[in-house]
Subunit: 333 residues, 2 copies
């Protein structure tokens, strides 16, 4: 069966293990208890924040491998991406694994791009066990996209806070765990937002586009899912998404939440909430999978969202193209 954006899997891969590691702020947030590990020192004893990000990503992959009960050599393929120029963290982490590796770039929607690709490889019998991972770090993202921390720049009220963390899912052709039954590949959508701080407003139309395609192509309604979760639109972005979806004829009720909105609470001064590739990556690989594994959720639609600009494109006056890739995950029967 083939439709325009949704890919259905005849041999749905199983998520046999996962791991999430976050910074202190994320660990103190509303879903803090679900994360596998919280780091206290944002540099984890490394010389640079970039090396700390590499260290977190390495730990997340090794943690997921352990959780899956497999060995490092059982990983047939690694798919990873992150926010840094040239997906540096992922490339440097891949050096320490002896597996074929595919680097992907989809900004904050990296986790779902990786899950989509891995599911296609497993569905087609090309690889048996695939590690999908991503990372972001507040300090590395700030100095690359905006200003180094030392600058002490004031943040606008519609901004979000890049999540410090890393996450990994291990997908397998067999085993116990939730199954990825379908993937939805996003289109690049640009409604003309050009404010580097207003990620939620920029990304909401892309989330709407992919979500509407998913409902149509799977012939479902929001109420058919126990949970519909978006990447990191934050409070403002998820309010915009609810409005845009109403215009498309879909009423997102209490089954809809946003990872960016969920990960921090108002007292943490992160304004609209969390962002960054690790935002939905860590929430999915902890809170969401925990509830799928426990049987609390039977089926989840997970839409990670990404803003695809660079600082260069913004300096040159361009608006921000955005994308959202999704996966549908079903708990064990």
């Amino acid at each position: 069966m083939k439709t325009k954006q949704t890919v259905f899997y005849n041999n749905p891969p199983t998520i046999i293990g996962s791991y999430s590691i976050v910074g202190q702020k994320e660990g103190d947030g509303p879903v803090g208890k679900y994360f596998d590990k919280t780091i206290i020192d944002a540099k984890i004893g490394e010389k640079t924040f970039e090396n700390a990000e590499i260290r977190m990503l390495t730990d997340a992959i090794n943690g997921a491998i352990s959780a899956a009960g497999i060995r490092k050599n059982d990983v047939d393929l690694m798919i990873s991406g992150d926010l840094l120029n040239q997906v540096t963290s992922s490339n440097y982490v891949a050096r320490s694994f002896d597996s074929p590796y595919l680097g992907v770039y989809s900004a904050c929607s990296t986790m779902t791009e990786a899950l989509n690709l891995a599911s296609t490889f497993i569905d087609g019998g090309k690889f048996d066990t695939i590690a999908c991972s991503t990372a972001s770090h507040f300090a590395t993202a700030e100095r690359q996209y905006r200003y180094p921390l030392e600058y002490g720049c004031q943040r606008p009220p519609y901004s979000q806070w890049t999540v410090t963390g890393a996450a990994c899912s291990i997908l397998s052709k067999s085993g116990n765990g939730p199954k990825i039954t379908a993937g939805v590949i996003g289109k690049v959508i640009d409604y003309g937002t050009n404010d580097l701080n207003n990620m939620g407003a920029a990304m909401a139309p892309a989330a709407m586009n992919t979500m509407a395609a998913m409902f149509k192509e799977t012939n479902t309604l929001p109420s058919d899912f126990d949970l519909i979760i978006t990447g990191d639109l934050g409070k403002l972005g998820s309010d915009i998404l609810r409005k845009l979806m109403r215009e498309q004829g879909y009423n997102l009720g209490k089954e809809y939440i946003d990872c960016g909105h969920l990960i921090f609470d108002g007292s943490q001064m992160c304004y609209q909430g969390g962002s960054g590739a690790a935002c939905s990556g860590t929430v999915f690989n902890s809170f969401v999978l925990n509830r799928l594994n426990s049987g609390m959720y039977k089926n989840v639609a997970y839409f990670a969202t990404g803003a695809l600009m660079s600082t260069q494109s913004c300096y040159q006056g361009e608006t921000i193209p955005c994308i959202s890739h999704a996966v549908i995950v079903e708990g064990q029967k």
Copy 2:
């Protein structure tokens, strides 16, 4: 059939159309007559070099769509990547197409990463028609990785020259043209080179690693191929590769050439030759496919190679991790 790095396709996709567009210098080079289009003005009338790169990439995709005899709406999926931070050119080009889109990052090996992914999607019956594309531009790459052109920096004799160009292949589940029968996914290899200018020496070990895996896993020898072509090792890098392959027990004879070595000649002052994602992308989508289509080549192994550092990682004293992904392409019987 499944082996460690090589993926065999049961339903091998056909390359039904391709297009290559290059700058003046590339058009003046030894394979200039094979390119579909040569631009005279490096900005193509655009305000910035970045916009010129976006324009070239757009033209390459539209050109390949025309060459394939299909319409823009027939493209089910776009896969693209480039050298710019956050694969900007690809993301901005994707705005103007109404197809699902996957951004990939594999530096100069982007073309073969995209062909590998597209082949897996088509082999599994997920999409019918996929556009795989990449681009690079001397002026955008120089100012991002090294110095802006105005600086007039002197280049060391072991350096290569980033190719200005863009290329696209259209893969289809049916139709006439060469077929991709297998893909090989590379591992990240780092032999400790840390000189941002010496890409050939950095990437040769990664090419060796993937090439040796391919020969072993397909049970072939160099003489079994009409052409073995690497991405952009240049003269120095391809000499190193010949030596490394001899140590692995494989003698690369006259069937082996390197796109970086091929694209410029000595009089063009590009030192070791060409580099950049468009280097092997344009040579494959012109010279190589032309000879596959004419029947001159029956089977080709195409290894694009990529250096996965960022300027940030190099400033921080890191060495350069590299990768090479490959595809095996067979001419029509």
